[in-house]
C-alpha cells in the first residue's frame, strides 16, 4: 500500500464515524449522521475541517467524536462544532474538548458566527482528569462561550441529549433550537434523580424539548425534525451580521401579507376586549418575514425578528389575546434576553404596546416579579440601537416603562388614536382615589358617581392632551403605521451612541 493509499483509507474510515449499529439506531430515531447534518447545513459542505485525525491512534474514536470546522451558510462563513453520537454517544474526551475550544478560538479570531450542533452524553468519566478540571478542560468551552457572547452570533441546535455540564452549552447560546422527541437538556438524568432525590420522572417530562421550549424557557424554538431545525438555523442567520461590528444585510422590500382587515379594523374600540397582536404585526412587516423566538414560552409577550422595508427589526409586542397581555416574570425575562440579542447585533427595536401593566398578587410577588421586571427595564434602557415604541392601546403603569416609554430614550414614542397612557385604567383609578367616598354614598347614587369620575379621568388622560404635553411624539393613523415606521427607521439608522461610561452595570438578575 502506498502512503497515498494509506492516507485515503484512513480518511475513508474516519469519515464513516462509529460502528454500524449506532448509525442504525440513529436512523431508527429520525436522526441523521453528523456529516449528513453538516451537508444539509452548509451551502457546499464543510470548507475547512481541522483535527480530523484527532485520537486516530484509537480506531474506535474517529475524530474523537466531534467534527469541527468552517462552512458557508447563505454566503456567510461560520464556525461549527458537531458531536458525533455514533462515537461513544458523542461523549467528550480530552481531544474532543480541545477541538471544541480551538474552533471557538477560531470564531473569536475571525469574528464569524459559532454554531453548536449538540448530540452528546457528556463527559467521558474515564478521561476526567485530563478533560474536566484544567485550564483547557471543558470549563474553557463555557468561558469561551461567555467571551464570544455578543461578539458573534452563537447558535445551538440540539439534536439529542445535552447532559450535566454539557447542558450549559445551550444555556450560553443566543438561541437554542430543539428537535421534539430527541433533544433534551438536564443536569441529572431521571435515573440519577431517582437515586439521589427519590423522584420518579420521565426524561421527556423533566428535560424534554417541549418542556424546555414552553415551561423552563431554556429552549427557544421547538421543531419536529432535524431538517426543520437546520432550515430554521439557516434562515435565522440571515437576520444577523457576522459580528457586532457590522449591521444585518438589507434585502429588497416586500409588501405586507395580503389581509382582509386593516390595522384600524384589527384594534377593537373597547379597550378591555382582546385582539390578536399577530394580525397587527402582519399589517406592519414585510410578508413572511417573521422569525419568532420563544413562541411557546410566555406567549403573553411576542418576540421575533422581522423585516420592515427590507431592514431587519426586532419586535417586542404585548399579546392581549393571552393573559390580557399582562407582563409576568417569564415574559419580562423573555423580553430581556431578546432585547440584548438585538442590541448586541445592531438590530433596531420596535415595541408594540397594549399592556395593562405587570401582574400583581401573591403568586407573582413570591416569584420575584419586581426583579424580573427590572431585568427587562435594564436591557431595554441600555439598548442603544434605534428604538421606536408604539402605543397601540393601553399603556398602564410600569408597563409603559418596560415597553420603552418616553423616559427611556426611544427615538420616538408614537401613538395610534386608540392609545391610552396612564398610571392605571379608569375604573381602577376611580376606585383607588374615591373608594371611601363611594362607600359612603347611598347604593343608588354610586354607579352614576363612578361613571362621572371615570369620564373626568378619561378626559384627563386623553391622547391629544398627552400629545399637547409632548409626552408622545406623534399620533399616527393606524393604516399609516407601516409607512411611518419605514420613514422613522430609515432616519434613525444613522444613530451611533454609547449608553454610558463604566465597566458594566450591576444588573438586577
Amino acid at each position: 500500500m502506498s502512503y497515498m493509499e494509506e492516507l485515503q483509507n484512513r480518511v475513508n474510515t474516519i469519515k464513516q464515524g462509529g460502528h454500524e449499529k449506532y448509525h442504525e439506531r440513529n436512523a431508527a430515531n429520525g436522526k441523521m449522521f453528523v456529516r449528513e447534518r453538516l451537508e444539509k447545513l452548509f451551502d457546499n459542505g464543510v470548507d475547512v475541517e481541522d483535527a480530523f485525525f484527532a485520537n486516530c491512534a484509537d480506531d474506535t474514536l474517529p475524530s474523537d467524536g466531534v467534527v469541527t470546522g468552517i462552512g458557508t451558510i447563505q454566503g456567510q462563513k461560520v464556525c461549527v462544532l458537531a458531536n458525533d453520537s455514533t462515537v461513544k454517544a458523542g461523549s467528550w474526551g480530552v481531544r474532543t474538548v480541545e477541538k471544541m475550544v480551538r474552533i471557538q478560538e477560531t470564531a473569536e479570531k475571525l469574528e464569524i458566527p459559532m454554531l453548536y450542533l449538540v448530540d452528546s452524553a457528556g463527559a467521558r468519566i474515564t478521561d476526567q482528569v485530563e478533560m474536566f478540571p484544567g485550564r483547557r478542560g471543558a470549563g474553557r468551552i463555557f468561558h469561551n462561550q461567555i467571551k464570544l457572547s455578543g461578539r458573534v452570533p452563537q447558535i445551538c441546535v440540539l439534536f439529542g441529549p445535552s447532559a450535566a455540564g454539557g447542558a450549559y452549552i445551550p444555556a450560553f447560546c443566543d438561541i437554542v433550537i430543539m428537535v421534539e422527541g430527541n433533544a433534551s437538556m438536564y443536569l441529572g438524568s431521571p435515573r440519577m434523580a431517582e437515586m439521589v432525590i427519590g423522584e420518579k420522572v420521565s426524561l421527556e417530562e423533566m428535560g424534554g424539548a417541549r418542556m424546555h421550549c414552553s415551561v423552563s424557557g431554556c429552549g427557544d424554538v421547538l421543531v419536529e425534525s432535524e431538517e426543520e431545525a437546520i432550515t430554521f438555523a439557516r434562515n435565522y442567520l440571515t437576520y444577523f451580521p457576522a459580528n457586532f461590528r457590522s449591521k444585518p444585510n438589507i434585502t429588497d422590500s416586500i409588501d405586507t401579507k395580503k389581509m382582509d382587515q386593516t390595522i384600524a379594523d384589527i384594534v377593537p374600540e373597547n379597550p378591555n376586549a382582546p385582539f390578536d397582536m399577530y394580525d397587527l404585526i402582519d399589517g406592519v412587516i414585510d410578508a413572511d418575514s417573521f422569525c419568532e423566538i420563544k413562541k411557546l414560552f410566555a406567549p403573553e409577550l411576542i418576540t421575533g425578528l422581522s423585516r420592515i422595508n427590507g431592514e431587519v427589526i426586532g419586535i417586542i409586542a404585548n399579546q392581549p389575546r393571552v393573559k390580557g397581555g399582562v407582563l409576568f416574570p417569564d415574559s419580562a425575562d423573555k423580553a430581556a434576553k431578546f432585547i440584548q440579542l438585538c442590541d448586541a447585533f445592531n438590530i433596531p427595536l420596535l415595541f408594540l404596546m397594549d399592556i395593562p401593566g405587570f401582574m400583581i398578587g401573591t403568586h407573582v410577588e413570591r416569584a420575584g416579579i419586581i426583579r424580573h421586571g427590572a431585568k427587562m427595564l435594564a436591557s431595554m434602557s441600555e439598548a442603544t440601537v434605534p428604538k421606536i415604541s408604539v402605543v397601540v392601546r393601553k399603556a398602564y403603569g410600569a408597563g409603559l416603562y418596560a415597553m420603552a416609554g418616553p423616559a427611556f430614550e426611544p427615538d420616538a414614542c408614537i401613538a395610534l388614536p386608540t392609545a391610552e397612557i396612564a398610571v392605571m385604567g379608569p375604573s381602577a383609578a376611580v376606585n383607588a382615589v374615591y373608594a371611601n367616598k363611594i362607600a359612603e354614598l347611598p347604593e343608588e347614587e354610586r354607579a352614576a358617581f363612578i361613571k362621572e369620575k371615570e369620564e373626568e379621568y378619561k378626559e384627563d388622560i386623553d391622547i391629544y392632551r398627552l400629545a399637547s404635553e409632548m409626552v408622545i411624539d406623534a399620533i399616527v393613523q393606524p393604516n399609516d403605521l407601516r409607512e411611518d415606521l419605514i420613514n422613522r427607521f430609515s432616519v434613525y439608522q444613522a444613530k451611533n451612541v454609547t449608553f454610558t461610561e463604566r465597566k458594566h452595570g450591576v444588573y438586577p438578575v
Partner: protein
C-alpha cells in the same frame, strides 16, 4: 379527559358553555376578568363539557381547574 385551567389569577366573568356542550380545540369556554382585562380561556382539546367546576364570580388562582372536557 382534559382539564381547562385558569391561565392567571382573576375572577370568573363568564362561563360560555354548559355541561354537555360539544367544544372544539381553540374555542373560548371561559372568560376571566383580571387586571381589568377580559382574559379568554380556550379549550385545548375537542370534546364534551363533562363538568363545570367553578362558578361565575369565583376568584381563581393560576392553574385552578375551571371545567373538565371529555
Amino acid at each position: 379527559m382534559n382539564e381547562v385551567k385558569a391561565s392567571m389569577a382573576g375572577s370568573i366573568w363568564k362561563i360560555v358553555v354548559d355541561e354537555g356542550d360539544s367544544v372544539t380545540a381553540g374555542q373560548d369556554v371561559v372568560v376571566l376578568e383580571s387586571m381589568k382585562m377580559e382574559i379568554p380561556i380556550a379549550a385545548e382539546k375537542d370534546g364534551v363539557v363533562k363538568s363545570i367546576v367553578k362558578a361565575e364570580g369565583d376568584f381563581v388562582n393560576e392553574g385552578d381547574v375551571l371545567l373538565v372536557i371529555e
